[in-house]
């Protein structure tokens, strides 16, 4: 099953809608709640990043019997140093974003923690793609 979501980069209030929708679909498919939670958290972190650090984009999700694969692509500023960005506590979030409860520098580490595979590709000035895989055992 393939699903595509658009993420509006200007609507902080709506961020998380796509993750919420995917979560519902996975529940209907009868996947275990522990696995769904891992996927939902990782995707939600990535979706929030698309809104707070970039200007939105597209999410493609692919569900097969053995895994859930989610690819999130934005056309934002890109990440100059991915290794640094992956460090716990590293964040370039603005004060405004921090006031909203984000900017702990835990999003990318959380994505890694909750997925079986995570790939970040980014080009400065072009955008960022995050690919998340969780195996269904």
């Amino acid at each position: 099953m393939k699903l595509r979501f658009e993420v509006d980069g200007d609507e902080f209030v709506l961020a998380g809608e796509a993750s919420s929708k995917l979560k519902k679909v996975l529940m209907q498919l009868g996947i275990s709640s522990q696995l769904i939670r891992k996927i939902a958290i990782a995707m939600y972190e990535a979706e929030i990043n698309m809104v707070i650090h970039a200007n939105g984009g597209f999410i493609d999700a692919e569900i097969t019997p053995d895994k859930v694969f989610v690819s999130l692509s934005d056309t934002g500023p890109g990440i100059p140093d991915i290794e640094l960005a992956m460090k716990e506590g590293y964040s370039t979030a603005s004060d405004k974003v921090r006031e909203l409860g984000f900017g702990a520098g835990m999003g990318l580490p959380n994505m890694k923690r909750y997925t079986d595979d995570m790939k970040v590709t980014s080009e400065v000035g072009k955008g960022t793609t995050v690919e998340l895989t969780v195996f269904i055992s």
Binding site: V13, A15, S19, I41, Y44, I48, F102, A104
Partner: protein, 116 residues
Amino acid sequence: MTLKEVQQHLSAKVLVGEEYLDREVFSGCGSDLMSDVLAFVKDRVILLTGLVNPQVIRTAEMMDIHAIAFVRGKEPTEEVLKLAALKEMVVLSTEHPLYISCGLLYSNGLTGKKDE
């Protein structure tokens, strides 16, 4: 601890989910940083926070958290409460600050040790 007991210990108002107050929680998580909350997976958690934007509800949703206590007398907008109601959550509001709220629940037995 049932949510009814949580409500009593925090002298909290019930903003949403009066009908679910018999639900039990085993552990609490107090933070104003959503990614910190997202790093902490446990079953049957109540989230205590001073933030009231819709992403608090979303964060709880992703974590399968069904109980939220807003501290420092904070109350979210109708829109946020509607989202919480849709997710069948219990939403409380207490005048106590975050530190005191967590302390009250912990000292009354919500230590997280009974989890799972």
